[in-house]
């Protein structure tokens, strides 16, 4: 009976979880026994398109950046349903990624055509997991600043 109930829960939960995707804050959630929690995640942005560029903009080509939040969950017993002791840390914000890109391209004035994806990684039923925000965009510099990229 428990087996059948578990099967029903799995079959109904999977499509529901997959179909409810919307843009929302991507922050590692707070658990019951959280001993440390300091995370930042993406919430919203209004990226530019090509026509929003200033007239003196110089294209810098493709730029990319990635930043992560990480979490460790230690089970308090041998059960797979056990309460876990959790620690989460990391900054996966837009701001952090822009700073990263700016380090590679010191003349960067901004980015446009921004594609944002979330890389989810977890192993062993979530004992270690990470959520990384990754951006693929095009950068631009303003005329007067030489468009050079740091190798």
């Amino acid at each position: 009976m428990i087996f059948l109930w578990g099967l029903v829960v799995c079959l109904t939960a999977r499509p529901a979880a997959a179909q409810t995707y919307t843009a929302h804050p991507h922050i590692i959630s707070l658990k019951t026994l959280t001993v440390f929690y300091h995370v930042t995640g993406p919430l919203s942005t209004l990226p530019m398109t090509r026509r929003d560029l200033p007239p003196d903009a110089v294209d810098l080509g493709e730029v990319r950046g990635r930043s992560c939040q990480r979490e460790v969950n230690i089970p308090t017993s041998a059960s797979l349903q056990a309460t876990t002791i959790t620690a989460a840390e990391g900054n996966g914000s837009y701001q952090k990624i822009i700073e990263q890109i700016r380090k590679k391209h010191p003349n960067l004035a901004g980015i446009y055509d921004v594609k944002t994806d979330i890389h989810n990684f977890s192993v062993f039923f979530g004992v270690y997991s990470s959520e990384c925000t990754q951006i693929l965009a095009r950068g631009y510099a303003l005329l007067g600043a030489a468009p050079t990229a740091k190798k």
Binding site: V9, R14, P15, L46, R50, V114, K115, T116, H119
Partner: protein, 123 residues
């Protein structure tokens, strides 16, 4: 008789995996996926749009197996990659994104795909 033995050998790990998945409350043993989050698409006003601009299609997928394993890249960057060779002069605009799910054998194998149809214009 040989067939029965083979089925028997396959049934043991299958039951173990399924049982573990059910006992774990649908938790996943291994996850390595990339999901789309946000994208503000270019419009015909952002490029030199022309009626002759080619239409391109692409698809990126991620997969679920036995409720335990989840992998694949179905992100915007992946689905839009490889479509434009000369990125300095051409750009994808007016994209339409759709998501497709396919499930086999009571959800033991699920394929979730992000599909895109767009046009390529000169910038």
């Amino acid at each position: 008789m040989k067939i029965v033995r083979r089925v028997g050998l396959w049934a043991v790990p299958a039951i173990l995996i399924l049982g573990t998945a059910l006992l774990s409350g649908c938790g996943e043993f291994y996850t390595n996926t990339i999901d789309p989050y946000s994208y503000r698409a270019e419009t015909p006003a952002d490029v030199q749009a022309a009626p002759s601009d080619p239409t391109v299609h692409n698809r990126a997928c991620e997969y679920y197996l036995f409720y335990l394993f989840n992998w694949g890249d179905a992100g915007y960057a992946k689905v839009m990659s490889g479509l434009v060779k000369d990125k300095d002069h051409y750009m994808i605009y007016d994209p339409k994104f759709d998501q497709t799910y396919r499930s086999w054998l009571l959800g033991l194998y699920i394929r979730q795909c992000l599909t895109m149809t767009a046009r390529v214009g000169h910038i």
